[in-house]
């Protein structure tokens, strides 16, 4: 055989140590997997846990359109009608169609009352079958302050929703509805109007049964703002029990109160 060919064959047939290297790499993979398996699950996450789970619920933002009174249903409510002096007639006017009635500002006698006299006494009537001499039940539309907008919760917030826009950085808590309730309850006890700007962070713990414990001021501001925020939480005192989907025994919540003039 040609000498050159012989040399080339020899050289290309040199011992290949790839098998050993693959074995080494397999061992390295096994070690890596074991390391991942044995490490605590929250390794690396524990460092920034505080910030990562901060949920900012803005109850302000740029003021959205004030919606004011919202009719939630056309259910009749009882309103005290002004006492009116009326002619002493036997029968009141026929039952008028239910109409939307603004609260009366001035006592106005109803001129129609005297116009017709229809003695329909046998017919059972709900309203105005009696002389209108005293406080009277009238039909109206229920008007309830609902606070306007819904509270979008869970990261899809937009600014400027008036009261109740929510911004969440991160929500790893199972039940945002619970937080909405929590915020609403606390907000009810919160005197926002302190005339001073300031930010207070309150930390508290909700027990399984909904009791609020361990109220602490985490980030201080002016003392009376601290007190106002603390009072808001303390007066709330009892929340609904923690949702069943949440498995923990207790839930620690940090609430940031931002007082704005």
């Amino acid at each position: 055989m040609d000498a050159v060919t012989q040399i080339l064959i020899d050289r290309s047939r040199e011992a290949d140590k790839i098998g050993r290297m693959v074995a080494l790499s397999l061992i390295a993979h096994a070690i890596l997997i074991a390391a991942v398996a044995l490490l605590p699950a929250n390794w690396g996450a524990s460092v920034k846990q505080d910030n990562a789970s901060t949920m900012v619920i803005s109850l302000g933002g740029a003021p959205g359109p004030k919606q004011g009174m919202t009719a939630i249903s056309p259910k009749p409510v009882q309103e005290a009608a002004p006492t009116t002096q009326k002619p002493n007639v036997q029968a009141p006017p026929a039952l008028a169609k239910p109409e939307v009635v603004e609260p009366l500002k001035t006592a106005k006698p109803q001129p129609k009352a005297s116009a017709k006299v229809e003695p329909k006494k046998n017919e059972p009537q709900l309203h105005s079958s009696k002389p209108t001499t005293g406080p009277e039940v009238k039909q109206g539309t229920a008007r309830v302050e609902t606070g306007g907008q819904a509270v979008p919760f869970g990261g899809l917030a937009t600014g400027g929703g008036g009261a109740g826009a929510a911004i969440t950085d991160y929500a790893n808590f199972c039940c945002p509805e619970y937080l909405t309730t929590l915020v609403q309850l606390v907000q009810r006890n919160w005197q926002q109007n302190q005339g001073v700007d300031g930010t207070v962070m309150i930390k508290f713990t909700i027990q399984r049964n909904g009791a609020i414990t361990n109220i602490e001021v985490e980030k201080q501001s002016v003392p009376f703002l601290d007190l106002a925020a603390q009072r808001a939480v303390a007066q709330t005192r009892q929340l609904p029990p923690l949702p069943t989907a949440f498995t923990g025994d207790q839930l620690t919540v940090h609430l940031l109160f931002q007082f704005k003039r």
């Binding site: 000498a3 050159v4 040399i7 080339l8 050289r11 040199e14 290949d16 790839i18 290297m21 693959v22 074995a23 080494l24 790499s25 397999l26 390295a28 993979h29 398996a37 605590p40 699950a41 929250n42 390794w43 690396g44 996450a45 524990s46 846990q49 505080d50 789970s53 901060t54 949920m55 900012v56 619920i57 803005s58 109850l59 302000g60 933002g61 790893n172 808590f173 937080l179 929590l182 606390v186 907000q187 926002q192 109007n193 713990t205 989907a245 498995t247 923990g248 025994d249 207790q250 839930l251 620690t252 919540v253 940090h254 609430l255 940031l256 109160f257 931002q258 007082f259 704005k260 003039r261």
Partner: protein
């Protein structure tokens, strides 16, 4: 003026010991997943292991080759006779230049021996040879070229597996993920609820496969490019050496 207030909530689950927030428990995820996901993960593990084996082997091979090349070139440029260089060759055999040198030298030897034998016969005393001449320099060139091809082939061997790993492992991982998500959706259908508690674990399991695919692919891509580049450098070095060898042969034997 209206007062606007802001709330910020930060939550901390202080529940049982296993309520680790933020961290991912891979073992639990993998243990819960179905057999197909496990199979995909196993394939990916094998791909990753083999490609890392190749990476280690090639790194070792190239490092050894370049060290031996430096030593070989030192010897080659210092010595005056090819036979001296030939003696060193076995100690630096990892260098691709050794193969080129050896085949070139073998071709030279063959031609010179032929030349010595043919005209005057074997009786002529070896001590006083006339200046030997080569029959064909082209043949030497071809021998060098053959050696170069073989050496490049040796250096390139198994590197394409890295390219294969780099291109198919993401797809294998993706396949596992798609299958897992299909299973998750079937789960939704079976349970009749779309709550996050039903969907999320399945999708998390499924995504492990994609993560594993990328885990295998990224080093493979990097080292494939790195190794291809190194082979190119070696090839340039070999070409350079071939030309040098040819020059010396031409100068001395023609």
């Amino acid at each position: 003026m209206r007062t606007f207030g802001y709330f910020a909530l930060a939550l901390q689950a202080q529940g049982g010991p296993e309520s680790g927030t933020g961290g991912v428990d891979f073992v639990e995820l993998i243990a819960r997943s179905n057999w197909l996901t496990k199979g995909v993960l196993l394939i990916l593990l094998l791909f990753s292991a083999v490609s890392w084996g190749i990476i280690l082997y090639k790194t070792w091979q190239y490092r050894r080759a370049s060290r031996n090349t430096t030593m070989f070139l030192q010897v080659f440029r210092k010595s005056t006779k090819f036979s001296e260089v030939q003696a060193v060759c076995s100690s630096v055999s990892a260098s691709p230049l050794v193969g080129i040198f050896q085949s070139g030298y073998a071709e030279l030897n063959a031609q010179l021996r032929q030349h010595q034998q043919t005209p005057d016969g074997p009786n002529r005393p070896q001590a006083a040879p006339a200046r030997p001449t080569l029959k064909s320099l082209d043949a030497v060139d071809r021998a060098l070229l053959r050696a170069t091809t073989v050496e490049v082939g040796k250096l390139e061997k198994r590197v394409p597996f890295l390219a294969t790993t780099a291109s198919i492992t993401p797809f294998i991982g993706l396949f596992g993920t798609v299958w897992g998500i299909m299973a998750a959706f079937q789960n939704i259908g079976a349970q009749g609820s779309t709550s996050l508690n039903v969907v999320a674990p399945g999708i998390a399991e499924a995504l492990v496969a994609t993560a594993a695919g990328l885990f295998a692919a990224v080093p493979a891509v990097y080292f494939y490019n790195h190794f291809t580049n190194m082979v190119k450098e070696f090839a340039a070095e070999m070409d350079d050496f071939s030309l040098e060898f040819l020059n010396i042969s031409e100068r001395n034997f023609t």
